[in-house]
């Protein structure tokens, strides 16, 4: 069993590392400019399926743009939105969860009610609602997903802090005259790191799938920026003539999310098995 956990972490880690490398080195890895339109070679099948344009490994779209290059560049948006949202939502959620758990009473009640209101919305629906009113854009999508996602961190951190604050090392620090914020930052929060890492990993998978969903619905980033979700949406109209327009971007989303979920699963089993009931 132990070996399986490390295997999951390794495979998931490799896939995530692949995404990071793809995103960072997109100009080096992409064989073509993702925006370059060659109308004479539109809707070409992948080269290995006998497509006319031998250089287009995964074929071309309705405007003659190279699918592989667009997928490589599309990873940038997934990575940017995924990482930024996870970090920002983590900061907000951890702060509120820590304060609520540590100070309790009224603070906990207020944070609890706010959490309940946000939990009352299905996650993606809240993001759809925000995007409907905020409009398309990378920053807007990060805001929408962050607003919908901080609650998970808040709940987990609050629970952890509630139990940690009763531990002897916290009592000892207080007895030595340490202030509350010092105890919280120096002694309590570092002990929530394992749980937060696991929550963040799963959150990254959910955020990437949500960004793709929003882009698919036309509510994500502006149309000229290549994203996996918008590629899928555009490809739908040509599904019978050119199925590769939908198959490959979908595969990219699936493999990425599968890898990150695998990593999260492995990390949870190694770092914090008791989270199994919560996530």
């Amino acid at each position: 069993m132990l070996r399986l956990r490390y295997f999951k972490v390794m495979v998931g880690g490799i896939i995530l590392a692949g995404l990071v490398i793809c995103g960072l080195a997109a100009p080096l890895l992409a064989p073509f400019d993702p925006q370059e339109q060659l109308l004479e070679s539109r809707l070409q099948a992948p080269a290995w399926l006998g497509g006319r344009a031998q250089a287009n490994l995964l074929g071309t779209d309705n405007l003659g743009r190279d699918i592989l290059s667009r997928i490589v560049y599309g990873s940038r948006i997934s990575l940017l939105v995924g990482a930024t949202t996870v970090i920002l939502a983590g900061l907000v959620g951890c702060f509120l969860g820590a304060v609520a758990g540590y100070f309790g009473r009224r603070v906990d009640e207020v944070v609890g009610k706010i959490t309940e209101i946000f939990l009352a919305f299905p996650f993606l629906l809240l993001a759809i609602a925000l995007m409907a009113f905020l409009g398309q854009g990378v920053i807007n999508i990060i805001i929408a997903l962050m607003v919908s996602r901080w609650v998970q961190y808040c709940r987990v951190v609050r629970g952890e802090v509630l139990s940690l604050k009763e531990r002897d090392f916290v009592t000892a620090a207080k007895a030595l005259g340490a202030r509350d914020y010092y105890v919280l930052l120096r002694h309590v929060m570092p002990n929530t790191f394992a749980s937060v890492t696991v929550v963040a990993t799963f959150a990254m998978a959910i955020v990437i799938i949500s960004e793709a969903s929003l882009s698919f619905l036309g509510l994500g980033v502006p149309a000229h920026i290549p994203t996996w979700g918008s590629m899928l949406s555009e490809g739908r109209s040509y599904m019978n003539r050119a199925p590769w327009l939908t198959i490959f971007p979908g595969m990219a989303i699936f493999v990425t999310v599968f890898g990150i979920n695998l990593l999260g699963d492995g990390l949870r089993d190694i770092l914090d098995p008791k989270l199994r009931r919560q996530i």
């Binding site: 009352a120 629906l125 905020l134 799938i209 739908r236 989303i253």
Partner: protein, 332 residues
């Protein structure tokens, strides 16, 4: 019973919070919704008239009060684009979404409970690892991609199932409950029933897959936990057959948790219904939401989001309370 009353009273501020959040959304929109509706050519007089008619010239809190006081009597106004009362539009589409969500739930149960239970019983075998792996794949599949692939293969390439809508063109079902499956059975319209089932299959599988994956994992861990209990050991010591132990002692107890999780996951079905209905052009409230957003009908969008939020919250509350009634050991 006191706990239930307390829970209902505690829900009031949350419902007010939901309504305030939804109300604020309209004011988040960049630009003036009136200008968006009237266009740039509108005269200042026209703009002022519409602003006054919508109450947008009032202070924010007054507007919220008006919004709430109308909402509690079911007056949500008219859709800006469709011209009909918003509540009528929602209730026309709601049965389709209820039917889709129910069918998805059924698909999820039929897949997840047998696989989850068998995985737990055969723990650490090849079946268990395969089951866990399939569940992980299910969670990771983007449902819009799954839907498109089903349309491509089952609808397009193999021509096995219809790819859009609720029923075949030309088949009429007499509306009683507006749930096609129920109405067709009540009126003995078996052709209509079969057509409705065929139209529901692909969307239900698309929507139910992620839920099936989650519930498989929960069933597995819940069964494993019950298997460790003393009463299961006692049942074995008494010499009961493995089948009886699983059916009477393990599954009955493990399924309490599973049923609760299924109830709580109804929200996930609402989430997914927006995407699934868009992919299959299925005429439910999820599809209506995306339509309202695309035509910038802020009024309809706002009420639909409020509707989704309230339904989700109330369903969760009911499941919590039901759970407490089924298992009195639970204190909320």
């Amino acid at each position: 019973m006191n706990t239930i009353v307390r829970r209902i009273i505690g829900a009031v501020p949350v419902l007010l919070g939901i309504s305030f959040l939804v109300f604020l959304l309209m004011h988040l929109a960049p630009g003036d919704p009136v200008m968006l509706l009237l266009g740039d050519d509108a005269t200042p007089g026209e703009v002022a008239r519409v602003r006054h008619a919508w109450g947008l010239d009032q202070p924010l809190l007054v507007q919220y009060w008006q919004f709430i006081s109308r909402a509690v009597v079911g007056d949500f106004g008219r859709s800006l684009k469709f011209g009909e009362p918003v509540i009528k539009l929602i209730f026309e589409r709601l049965p389709a979404t209820i039917e889709l969500a129910s069918m998805s739930l059924l698909v999820a149960i039929l897949i997840s409970i047998p696989i989850g239970t068998y995985s737990a019983i055969k723990r650490d075998t090849l079946f268990d690892h395969a089951g866990t792996g399939v569940a992980l794949i299910g969670v990771s599949l983007p449902n819009f991609w799954l839907g498109i692939m089903l349309i491509y293969f089952l609808g397009g390439q193999w021509n096995l199932l219809p790819v859009a809508g609720r029923i075949e063109y030309g088949i009429e079902i007499k509306p009683i409950t507006k749930l096609f499956l129920v109405d067709s059975l009540l009126t003995a319209n078996f052709g209509g029933f079969w057509s409705a089932v065929q139209h529901l299959l692909m969307p239900a599988v698309t929507l139910g897959t992620a839920l099936a994956a989650i519930v498989t994992r929960i069933t597995r861990s819940s069964v494993l936990e019950v298997m460790r209990q003393d009463y299961v050991t006692t049942a074995r010591a008494k010499g009961l057959s493995e089948g009886v132990i699983i059916r009477r002692h393990i599954l009955r107890n493990a399924l309490i948790t599973v049923v609760t999780i299924l109830g709580l996951q109804l929200g996930a079905l609402l989430n997914g219904s927006v995407i699934t209905e868009t992919v299959f052009s299925y005429p439910g409230i999820g599809d209506l939401l995306i339509q309202s957003i695309s035509v910038r009908d802020y009024k309809l969008t706002q009420v639909l989001i409020l509707f989704f939020g309230v339904i989700y919250f109330v369903v969760n509350l009911l499941v919590d309370m039901l759970y407490m009634l089924i298992d009195p050991r639970i204190k909320l």
